[in-house]
Amino acid sequence: MTEKQAERVLMKGNEAMAEAAIQAGCRHFFGYPITPSTEIAAYMSKRMPKVGGTYLQAESEVAAINMVLGAAAAGVRVMTGSSSPGISLKSEGVSYLAGCDLPCVIINVQRGGPGLGGIQPSQADYWQATKAWGHGDFQILVYAPSTVQEMVNLMMEAFDKADEYRIPALMLVDGLLGQMMEPIAFPEKDLSTIPAKPWATNGHKHKREHNIVNSLCLKPDELEQQVIARFARYDIIKAKEAQAEEYLVDDADIVLVAFGATARTTRSAIDMAREKDIKAGMIRPITLWPFPEKVIQKAANTAQCFLSVEMSMGQMIDDIKLAINCTKPVHFYGRTGGMVPMPVDILGKIEELARGLK
């Protein structure tokens, strides 16, 4: 993406995602404020009326996600945003959205958990986002930006991909990314390419057969076929949509895997390790589902071991092990509860592993 330096503005991650959504054609926001995601709702409450959109503070997160479902069924670009405890409340609605094949974008600005937990940054909703955000056989797209600029770019992409595949898309960020300001530029967004939605349950003045959007199907053989068809779409998504960034991976003995805010401190740690002649590199998953298995598989040919760095007790380790079929050891360094792994601490773990290699 080419953004001119002169056009850069300083914006908070939360506000930048909200503005990116508007520029991506989103005119409907339903939500309920919660730290550290509140600026999303606050920004939308100011901006939506000015662009002819709808901002509505619902009575609860459950109500908000069901409003998202209704608007998505009507064929408009719609979103909500929350933080971990609120995201759990939305899980029923997300399962229904997936069961109805409805596109929407949801932001989770993660905070420490479980329960009400704390309000400092966390990545401990990884399992929820990538494995089981609700009942039934389903997946959603999960994007994990690590800069405010990438939050903007992926927000726009999330709306496009959600529409293309008729699937909910999640922006999985954390309190650090949501609260920080960085310079950004908004790329030109061509809204004429938004696909038509002939399946939408909008008004048609009896000019066509009526559409039905529903997740209820009481005949098991029919429901099975629906789910199988959806999973065929997931296979296409897995083949086409996985994204990752590689940083100094080619000659790396130790390949760190980190996403989001953690990838930033990990990159600093790798620079420090390289100064000490330790060959460390990083794979940064940009999509968490689909997980960038191929990039990690390829690295397993040259790396001696992997190190997963997370703000959790280690929820991504299994995906790395599966991607490389357990052919190399996968180690872990993490902090949780709202603590951020700092470069010097990650470096300590890299050095420990490097000593083991010699």
């Binding site: 330096q5 850069r8 800069t147 300001m181 960085e182 310079p183 401190t265």
Partner: protein, 177 residues
């Protein structure tokens, strides 16, 4: 030195976050990579507030500053909490109206400015943070003075545009002390 890891800390209401925003915007005006990260949570007027600002020629890794090379402190608890975290060779700016400094470190430069008292005397109440920034500007040269002025223009809301001049006077006051 062209890269700065700055930590500003004090009470909520002293303009800690605003100072940080001005510094980040000044870096942006000069085409640097910048980041600004506030402490967030149950902060309020009278509670503690701090923010991390990074100015760099390269992409910024951690936006969270735990070992600052510039520390600006405006209350006693923040001074005591962060003084030992400053990297050797770092510079510390203290509002000495509000802080009793008793630092034994000799590997850092400490500047004590009675900013709150100066603000009161000059009829600039609420601008102690900007006076301190003026001193930071003089001692570190983190940006050109014109860049700081441009940044203040950006950060002051249209409703308060008439306050830009007094902010710049506060910068000058800090630079001259």
């Amino acid at each position: 030195m062209t890269n700065y890891n700055i930590l500003l800390a004090g009470f909520g209401g002293q303009g800690i976050l605003f100072s940080g925003k001005v510094m980040a915007n000044a870096g942006l005006v000069e085409g640097k990579e910048v980041s600004w990260l506030p402490s967030y949570g149950p902060e309020m007027r009278g509670g503690t507030a701090n923010c991390s600002v990074c100015l760099s020629e390269r992409a910024i890794g951690s936006p969270l500053v735990t070992t600052p090379d510039i520390l600006v402190v405006m209350n006693q608890p923040s001074y005591e909490k962060y003084i030992d975290a400053v990297v050797p060779g770092g510079k510390v700016f203290i509002d000495s109206t509000l802080i009793q400094a008793n630092c034994e470190r000799t590997d850092i430069d400490i500047y004590e400015i009675p900013a709150t008292q100066m603000a009161k005397q000059q009829d600039m109440s609420g601008l102690a943070n900007i006076i301190l920034m003026g001193k930071v500007l003089k001692e570190t040269g983190f940006a050109a003075t014109e860049s700081v002025e441009a940044a203040i223009r950006k950060c002051v809301s249209a409703r308060k545009a008439h306050l830009v001049d007094v902010n710049m006077q506060a910068i000058q006051l800090g630079m001259n002390c």
